[in-house]
């Protein structure tokens, strides 16, 4: 199976004095897979995401996205930030057109609009095309950010704690939304999160990271059947998987804290 992301032995240090931000990180994500990265704050989860997005360059090691070492560019890879980062001066529809304007200038507005409306429909947000971001709730803004990442031909979504700022109910709704979208329009996902339950609920695999230096401690394979419903969280299988992730996290802490 073709790899969507390959990270080989990546190290990154911001300065000589501090321990490296990331040390010897290896990971690979298969096409169509959904992977969650959990770890304490400051372990370099977001840095890893930004390396893959092509915003940062590693000191050592190699990063390939769909076999290609050059990673920036919306056409196949897209980014969902924590606080939506919609352009406040653009309507919802115009925000969704942005990646198309940049990557598909040949098609023209009518084609773009069709694709944007399809993406809005995918996240269950029909009818807000002409609203400005400040007129939407936090959950709706995050849905728009998700739609913006899905619009056009994006095949790989990098999600940087996309639901961290939302209340628990809205977060659960969006978890189901992600579940639904993966059924309707499969994509590859790499999501950074603090929330172990979120990670186990959404992912095919959960990677656990440790801090100082940031590194991968291990992984837990989540073999729960799809589509998953929220009530799955109360089953013993789910609890066991959460436990396995927590055990890895604890092991990482033990080294520095005990």
């Amino acid at each position: 199976m073709q790899k969507a992301i390959e990270v080989k032995n990546v190290t990154l240090a911001y300065s000589q004095d501090c321990p490296p931000e990331l040390e010897g990180v290896n990971l690979s994500v298969a096409k169509g897979e959904f992977l969650c990265l959990v770890g304490p704050s400051g372990c370099g989860k977001s840095t890893l995401l930004r390396l893959i997005a092509g915003v940062l360059t590693p000191d050592q090691g190699e990063i390939k996205v769909f076999g290609d070492p050059k990673t920036a560019g919306w056409s196949r890879l897209s980014f969902v930030p924590q606080d939506s980062l919609l352009l406040p001066w653009r309507t919802v529809l115009d925000n969704l057109l942005l990646p198309l304007e940049l990557n598909d200038p040949a098609s023209g507005r009518s084609v773009w609009e069709e694709q944007a409306r399809a993406a809005l429909h995918l996240v269950n947000l029909d009818g807000v095309e002409d609203k400005y971001p400040h007129q939407l709730s936090g959950g709706m803004r995050q849905r728009v950010a998700l739609a913006r990442a899905l619009v056009g031909r994006a095949e790989l979504l990098l999600l940087d704690e996309p639901f961290a700022a939302l209340d628990a109910m809205t977060r659960s709704q969006l978890h189901l939304e992600i579940m639904g979208i993966r059924q309707k329009a499969p994509f590859t996902g790499l999501m950074v999160t603090h929330n172990i339950f979120e990670a186990v609920f959404l992912a095919d695999r959960v990677l656990v990271m440790g801090e100082k230096p940031g590194r991968i401690l291990g992984e837990v394979k989540i073999d729960l059947a799809y589509p998953r419903a929220l009530k799955i969280m109360s089953t013993p299988e789910f609890a066991a998987l959460v436990g396995a992730v927590q055990e890895l996290l604890e092991k990482g802490w033990g080294k520095n804290h005990v």
């Binding site: 930004r50 915003v55 980014f79 980062l85 352009l87 001066w89």
Partner: protein
């Protein structure tokens, strides 16, 4: 406290408040004017009489009004026209900023009232010196707001557009400019209002026409009603400019409108 249909802060309430204040000021003026001679405080009737006389001389008031209007507008155009591109350069190149900003601040620190006579000596009693003085007054707020606005773009937005594959030019037009617009407009609003002051200062320093000249001339002849008329005309000019900029703002930045 408020009856139905009379919400605090509504347009109706604001209009009534404004009207009330104007009425009180008018009554105090009318009352006080009975205590003083015309050349110190003319009565409203005296001012109206003088206005009739002035408007009777065809085209005279219009000439003075138009002169100040043109000086202020051209001065603002020149000042903003230089300040905006320069603010882009200063925001983009910190080195240039460190080199030029102290000089700009030094020029700004010289009171324009003190600089104006020099410019009149250099450029004459006509339009040119007034435009330059108005341009100098309008220049600084437009420049500083431009620099601040362009510099304060959310770096996360720029990074996100970079990930989307945008080049520097696209980031400039799609993110930096729109995000700076509210601050830039704040500078334009201030600059346009200040350009009226600049034009009047220029006329004080030597001119043959304009509303500032009218005040200067009226002072010499103790024609206090005429001063009142010129001041009122200047206020109308300033408020007019303010309204035009506000309207432009609403047109250019529809997302800023309250809903």
């Amino acid at each position: 406290m408020f009856k139905d249909g009379f919400r605090p802060g509504s347009a109706g309430e604001r209009l009534i408040t404004l009207f009330g204040i104007a009425l009180v000021v008018f009554l105090i003026w009318a009352g006080l004017s009975t205590l003083y001679p015309v050349y110190i405080l003319p009565s409203p009737g005296e001012v109206v009489r003088r206005a009739r006389e002035l408007f009777g001389q065809s085209g005279l008031f219009a000439l003075h009004f138009r002169t100040t209007l043109v000086e202020a507008l051209l001065g603002f155009g020149l000042g903003a026209g230089v300040a905006l591109p320069l603010s882009y350069l200063l925001a983009r190149h910190p080195r240039l900023d460190r080199l030029l900003t102290p000089m700009v601040v030094a020029i700004q620190a010289i009171p324009i009232v003190a600089l104006a006579p020099l410019l009149v000596i250099w450029f004459g009693f006509g339009l040119t010196s007034k435009i330059l003085i108005a341009a100098l007054t309008a220049f600084f707020p437009v420049l500083t707001n431009g620099v601040v606005g362009l510099r304060e773009t959310d770096p996360r937005l720029k990074e996100l557009l970079g990930i989307m594959g945008a080049g520097k030019r696209q980031i400039f037009f799609k993110v930096e400019i729109p995000s700076a617009l509210p601050v830039i407009f704040g500078g334009l609003r201030m600059g346009l209002t200040l350009s009226v002051i600049g034009a009047v200062v220029g006329e004080f320093s030597g001119a043959g026409q304009g509303l500032g000249y009218l005040v200067y001339f009226a002072r010499g002849t103790f024609d206090t009603p005429l001063i009142f008329i010129a001041l009122l005309a200047l206020a109308v000019l300033g408020v007019g400019f303010y309204l035009i900029i506000s309207w432009l703002e609403a047109v250019v930045m529809p997302w800023q409108r309250k809903d």
